[in-house]
Symmetry: C2
Subunit: 347 residues, 2 copies
């Protein structure tokens, strides 16, 4: 039998943040694709769309009018998944367990320009977005235990409006995936007397193979245990637990690396690369949380081209996540992309 | 404040099979949808397609020729995610943990007729499919610890070929989701001296609200903690741990209920209802496993119509599964569908 090669032989990798394994089948990427392709919208959106609920000055579905904002704009979601109006209740039957929730959901428009995406914002506009992530996290963090900052980008990710925007959902409980992460970070801290993500970023910087782009403060890499073909993890190279702790300097370098990463994403298949992204940091419970480290996940669905995505179905829903190309191959492909956006005149 | 109502107020429900919570926002189903819709293929597929890799007598991509089968046909996947040819290796570094895997993946054609789906098979053809699930599970179960029987149906579920078919992936480890379920069933058994799913099905039969359809041996219901809008759980009303234990009688009643469920699925939005489905039973380790109970999950992605699906993105990928319509509402809508397929002349 030949020597084990991660590029040739099926194997599983362990995700220390979730406790789950991922099945890797590198030899499988050769299979032909006759399945569904995504409808690619090749028309360029106009800078202003009179039908858009999010453009400045337009009316939303509930009749409210957006201000004529010129950087960012935050408002309460008109169809919020969370609210604080209901009564409290809970049930402890082990087969029918439930609890009511308290919270709110807000929408954050990244720019007044309907045609742009995060990847195309100039540095100043990017700073404005991060500043709102920061101030909203601080504000909502005073009222709620958890503030989930996230963005669904692109029709393939269920985004119903191309206007550049993200969301903030805040509530008084730790959601399932975060509760698991909290437990795993705390276990690692106890067992290894170290910060899991702090230790991890150092090891990755030594190995280099999974790094996509880095600067003095931040590193974007395809994690060893990535689920999605071009999934990335955005990690700090300094101690930081929560979004509000960003300084003017680390915010600037953060804007820079988000730009560098999302431009490479768009260049990979020459399209507005769809993804879901979001931030995880220590809960807003007033505790120190030395086991935590602020970080962002990018989960993009595309696999082979702008129109062929990876489907998390069948085996993935019933047994375990499966991937074809290796994280090392994905990182290499992203790394070699031009740092200049394909739509820019300098490309 | 008003009295708590599951149809009005946001709450979370606990999934005892996974240990995860689901966020329910029943009031949110009123939001408008301007996002992606699925391309609906309204042309009826021909009974034989000369381009199809799975039709009887056709050549597959690797040059092999399918036999002229007239009921079902099983073969080794030409682009298998698993194989047993590689060397063994493993790594114990807590941040870079991996292990090689051994296994195989097979494809099972449900029928020689390219145009049919499981929902349209006559009772005899359905018995043939279940008989293969049974014999293949038995065969592969002699060699491997776990045999995952599943079907991805429809382009929306990443199925690349409309020819009615499913898959079997078998390997010598318990996949992530099954390992969790194994642990939770065992914990419940220890704590409550009972079989979790056995206890659950009795409680659901009393409450009735989440039952879609049932017969003497089986019950199909929308579980209390369902993630997908029209997710169902197919449970036995008798003791059975693994697929090979089916008798002629319980196999017949199983065929009947699969037909009854999938016909209602198709009738709901008058389309070939996409889903991933699959079976979980006790591992093939020679142990008794009194905590286990054979069952199937159906995970369909549609939410509002044949073309609007639920996207598990953003908040779901970063925090927790979220759903809009309640399981009780979903069960009622499925229950009221005609038992006769909308494409049949008797409809
Ligand atoms: O095996 P297929 O049908 O080519 O592929 C499909 O099912 C697999 C198993 O659920 C998934 O891993 C793939 O993402 C999906 O496209
Ligand atoms: O809130 P939106 O953009 O209407 O909806 C989108 O994001 C939500 C949060 O990730 C998801 O629950 C929905 O399935 C998705 O369509």
């Amino acid at each position: 039998k030949p020597k084990f090669s991660t590029d040739e032989h099926p194997h599983r990798r362990f995700n220390p943040l979730t406790g789950e394994w991922v099945l890797l089948s590198p030899h499988r990427s050769k299979r032909p694709w006759q399945g569904q392709t995504e409808a690619l919208d090749l028309t360029t959106a106009p800078s202003y769309d009179s039908e858009c609920f999010l453009c400045p000055g337009n009316k939303r579905i509930n009749g409210e009018q957006n201000p004529k904002y010129d950087t960012t704009f935050v408002f309460q979601n008109d169809f919020a998944a969370l609210n604080s109006e209901g009564p409290k209740a809970q049930g402890e039957d082990p087969l029918f367990r439930f609890e009511t929730v308290e919270g709110e959901s807000r929408v954050l428009c990244f720019s007044p320009d309907h045609s742009l995406t995060l990847a195309q914002l100039d540095p100043e506009a990017m700073q404005a977005v991060i500043a709102v992530w920061q101030s909203q996290s601080e504000l909502l963090g005073k009222k709620y235990l958890w503030v989930q900052v996230f963005e669904n980008k692109g029709a393939a990710m269920g985004c119903s409006n191309p206007h550049p925007h993200g969301q903030l959902w805040a509530h008084n409980h730790l959601p399932t995936l975060v509760a698991t992460k909290q437990q795993r970070l705390a276990d690692y801290y106890l067992q290894h007397h170290g910060n899991l993500l702090g230790d991890y970023v150092e090891r990755e910087l030594q190995q280099e193979v999974r790094i996509v782009v880095s600067n003095h403060d931040w590193v974007a890499l395809v994690p060893y245990w990535a689920s999605w073909p071009f999934e990335t993890l955005l990690l700090p190279r300094f101690n930081i637990r929560r979004m509000p702790e960003l300084t003017a300097e680390t915010r600037e370098s953060l804007g820079e690396i988000i730009g560098a990463l999302t431009v490479r994403y768009d260049n990979l298949f020459q399209c507005a690369f769809p993804y879901s992204m979001g931030w995880h940091g220590a809960p807003f419970d007033g505790q120190d949380h030395p086991e935590w480290c602020l970080h962002a996940h990018f989960y993009p669905p595309l696999l082979r081209s702008a129109s062929v995505k990876k489907f998390m179905v069948g085996y993935e829903l019933l047994a375990e996540i499966q991937r074809d190309i290796t994280p090392e191959q994905a990182a290499a492909r992203l790394r070699e992309q031009s740092p200049i956006h394909y739509k820019s005149s300098h490309y």
